[in-house]
């Protein structure tokens, strides 16, 4: 297979297909789940996405729709996106998501505490959430757009990995800037160094603002060249995105037909 097509299919398999809107409804989530399972039936041989990512109230619907598909359901929790709630509320939020059937939890760190220098508070919180999660995968959202410097990004990454986060994730998608290649490189380096220190492979998820197939390939190259091919799997690398999927599909169809595509031919949800 040509390396571009290979990369595009790999990228598809790494997508956390996301909807995080106040206006989300079971209807919208069902549509998205069907799309997640049938990315473009006209083009055979496509993988499915890694997960769908929704609010906790939508987990049950998603779980039911995706039954038997192998696609995970990820829930954002812990007072997503701001993290501005007391500790108890966040605990309830995460427990609710798990009880609804979430396979993965995307938590936000308490940026307020972090920026105040209360690193222990942030560390303890992550560690406690991980203990509640058990087998449920925990992704720790740093919201790098609010951290301000790359030094803090690196520091927060180290902290989240040490506290037990299965993945570190750049952003909620609600704050600008969201994922950038620079920030992603810094976080991948933290993952690399953590592996070299501990022998444990942890995952990385850039999220927000990754809209084109070209960007996705650039990220994959960064992963490959920073962490090596062992990380080129949905178990260790994800894209958090809502519109990336169709752009990749359009590129794949372009590769097979030879003509550039229009979004009219690709179902939106």
């Amino acid at each position: 297979m040509d390396s571009k097509v290979q990369a595009l299919k790999l990228a598809l398999s790494m997508i956390d297909q996301t909807t995080l809107e106040g206006s989300d409804s079971p209807g919208k989530v069902k549509q998205m789940c069907y799309k997640a399972m049938h990315l473009h039936d006209a083009l055979p041989g496509l993988p499915h996405v890694a997960a769908v990512c929704v609010y906790p109230t939508m987990v049950r619907t998603a779980k039911e729709e995706l039954k038997g598909s192998g696609i995970h359901v990820a829930a954002v929790a812990t007072a997503f996106p701001s993290g501005q709630a007391d500790h108890e509320t966040k605990l309830l939020d995460i427990k609710y998501a798990i009880s609804e059937g979430a396979d993965e939890v995307d938590m936000v760190i308490s940026r307020g505490h972090y920026l105040n220098g209360e690193f222990n508070y942030v560390y303890d919180e992550i560690a406690e959430f991980k203990s509640i999660c058990g087998d449920v995968h925990l992704k720790v959202i740093l919201e790098t757009g609010e951290l301000g410097t790359l030094d803090r990004v690196r520091h927060a990454s180290d902290l989240a990995l040490a506290a037990g986060g299965d993945f570190i994730k750049t952003s909620t998608g609600k704050v600008q800037p969201a994922a950038t290649q620079t920030v992603t490189l810094v976080m991948l380096e933290a993952v690399r160094d953590f592996y070299q220190r501990t022998g444990q492979r942890r995952g990385m998820k850039p999220a927000g603002g990754i809209k084109t197939a070209k960007q996705a390939i650039q990220y994959l190259v960064t992963v490959n060249e920073t962490l090596g091919s062992a990380w080129l799997t949905p178990d260790l690398f994800r894209f958090g995105a809502s519109t990336l999927t169709n752009d990749i599909l359009m590129q794949l169809v372009k590769e097979s037909t030879g003509v550039y595509q229009s979004s009219d031919y690709f179902s939106q949800a």
Binding site: G27, D41, S267, A269
Partner: protein
Amino acid sequence: MSTTTAEKTAPLQWNYAPAPESVDPKLRKRYDLFIDGKFVPPVEGNYRPSINPARETTLAEVADATAPDVDKAVKAARKAYTKVWSKMSGKERGKYIFRIARLLQERSREFAVAETLNGGKSIRESRDTDIPLAAAHFFYYAGWADKHDYAFPGRRAKPLGVCGQVIPWNFPLLMAAWKIAPALATGNTVVLKPADTTPLTALKLAELIQDAGLPPGVVNIIPGGRPTGAAIVQHPDIDKIAFTGSTAVGKWIQKELAGTKKKYTLELGGKAANIIFEDAAIDQAVEGIINAIFFNQGHVCCAGSRLLVQEGVADTVIAKLKERMATLIVGDPLDKNTDIGAINSREQLGRIEALVATGSEEGAEMWQAPCELPAKGFWFRPTLFTNVSQSHKICRDEIFGPVLSVLTFRTEDEAVEKANNTAYGLSGGVWTDKGAKIFKVTRQIRAGVIWANTFNKFDPTSPFGGYKESGSGREGGWHGLMPYVELE
């Protein structure tokens, strides 16, 4: 007043008595090709039976035109164009077309019965829609024949020459009228191929054209299948192709004509969204939804086959729809009470069945009206799919049958986005009581005909045609003249 007597009587089981239309359709046993004003046998001598899809009985033997017949017809049309029709004043041309309209009005019931027998559509529709609209179309364009100077300010409109016209089986006579009337009014001559399953009313129209005294060769009608259509498209002496049918064939035609100077208009498929907002008059909307998808058994390119309902009223609308669908009368197309007639052909029935099967396989929930179907003939129950996803095949492909897919939406923007998320752009529907919203939404839908608080309305004065893969060019109204003229 006492009501005791009534109370004692058992509830009335009121079944409508059969009310078949009984006018004689005056069909011949055998139809030849109509070329140069005469009925002539086909060069290769092939005939095929034309059947009644409601009974699977043969109505007549119909000649099958092949390439040599196409060539004869084109020669006749060319001769008529050069020698007679292009030299005749618009005023005189118009009077011939007026004659056709009048003769058709006079014999409209007879044509309606023939249309229903051959196509399977209900007599109510052929009697009230197809034939009257066909006559109106001739009458409308007849009036344009001597008014070109007023139609195109600053330009002189010249006819193109010989037009090859290929039409579908869903509105056989009406489509013939849509094609022939504007072509003649603008001074062109015609070679028309009706669809292979429904040639009879077009051939009756040929008889009527003889009665009208139209000069020989101005209109030639040659039934046949796909090879006949291909021979018309490829004929070197044709100046313009007008086609109504599937998008796949339309694309083939556009490609086939590449590198030639032939003009073309294409009226192709559709997958129209019919959008029901929660502030719509719901009962009226339900009636509109029924008309949008079940009109003519759903054999309509502009059918409202994707129902988009706002989530707040979705349950209500679906419940009311099922209730209404259960009252639809499916059966003998000739019966005046019948709402839904027969599927046009065994082939089309197979296509509908195959697509509907994918709907269930892909996880949509199917509901069908619990009506009884006749034992013989081709039939399909009015069908509703809920829990439909935009990626489902039944939601993206044109089914061309009585099958409705229901999707829901939350916001106006989402409705518009979903409505436009298709390769097609023929038609659309919007139901709301808010005037400002009607104008906002109808402007955003990328389609050629939008019905607001109504659906499937047609008129010769009103242009019809699609955006995107639904075709190019317009038929009807002033806009319908343009594809048949060259502006100098």
